[in-house]
Symmetry: C2
Subunit: 197 residues, 2 copies
Amino acid sequence: MADADKTRQALLEAAYEEIYRNGFQAASLNTILERTGVTKGALYHHFSSKQKLGYAVIDEIISEKLDREWLTPIQQSGHPIDVMIDVIQLAGQQITSQQIDQGCPLNNLAQEMSPIDPGFRQRIDHLYRKWQQSIEKLLRDGQQDGEVKASINPADAALFILASLEGCLGIAKNAQSIDELKRCAQGLVGYLDSLRC
Amino acid sequence: MADADKTRQALLEAAYEEIYRNGFQAASLNTILERTGVTKGALYHHFSSKQKLGYAVIDEIISEKLDREWLTPIQQSGHPIDVMIDVIQLAGQQITSQQIDQGCPLNNLAQEMSPIDPGFRQRIDHLYRKWQQSIEKLLRDGQQDGEVKASINPADAALFILASLEGCLGIAKNAQSIDELKRCAQGLVGYLDSLRC
DNA sequence: TGGAACATACCGACCAGTATGTATGTCCCG
DNA sequence: CGGGACATACATACTGGTCGGTATGTTCCA
């Protein structure tokens, strides 16, 4: 039934917002219910626990967001290093100050939940791995085209690029400063440049 | 009175552990009381709220830990870049798998609390700034000695180094993998090498 | 020097509020 | 008319925080 799906989707989106704002543990089901106008019975009809709701937010909302905002844009044509720099700088231009303050939704959940809930950790790890592999593929393509140094290990470099990106977002989040994000991202761009032949 | 100080210190240390394990919001005062054998009245005699207890943990426990484990070691004599690589690799050797899983105490608090509590954000920012400046000073010294490229901006590079370091710790925390930490840190070492003349 | 006045450190029962989760009832569509 | 899709009311546990009270000094004046 379409109505049921709409209810479920509304819950997922409100849960995503609430979790993004407060973290998973501090996220309140009652707040989610208020914001959606859905009742508690309906929520527990669709999700058997708060934990399962959190899992679904990762598997459906955040995963889809990652695809749309990072994995797909990175697949555009062009020199791999240039493409990555473009994507990073475009994201830097589009980001709002609210998004800076709240950081990366995936990394937020990773830092909070991975030590205390294997189900979260596993799901987050899966997304990180996809992310890393998409960067790795880009570097590998660059090596074949002769744009990227043959001496580097694409998997290791991709891992470091991803870590640095999350690190920059984390630092800027605490500083609540777009300027600091851009200065930090510039360091990452410098590293990317150093991978060119 | 010495006993009062001992009580206060015991509370701070137990609070640090509890917060490190569960985050600040999910940290339970009752657990802290159980672990220390201190009563609730005593706790609220020393700290007027859970928030103030959290502030004190940053100002006293975490700040001291940062000094001891990063700021002081970085001040040893030697070529700046070599010193930093040494400190990073030594830390990588000494880290336990439990510490990997739980991540960096300062970064954990930063990601959780900075968007929702200005007092936390400010205190964490203060420590990050000290950290960054100690790296910046090292790079500046390296430039004067002719070991570090004159073309780089020491403040910006220090910011990126700090962000990358936290990023590597964060990624390894989610992966729960020492190997992934070392591979990631190797990327940081590569960046540091690229700063040499 | 002895004792009243006061301060510090601590105790632990209790409070209101909130959290997730459950049990049962109703509605409505195929 | 059976079952999916809810709604309502409630259970239970736990949270941070408060409050009246106590025990152990410390100070200071007669």
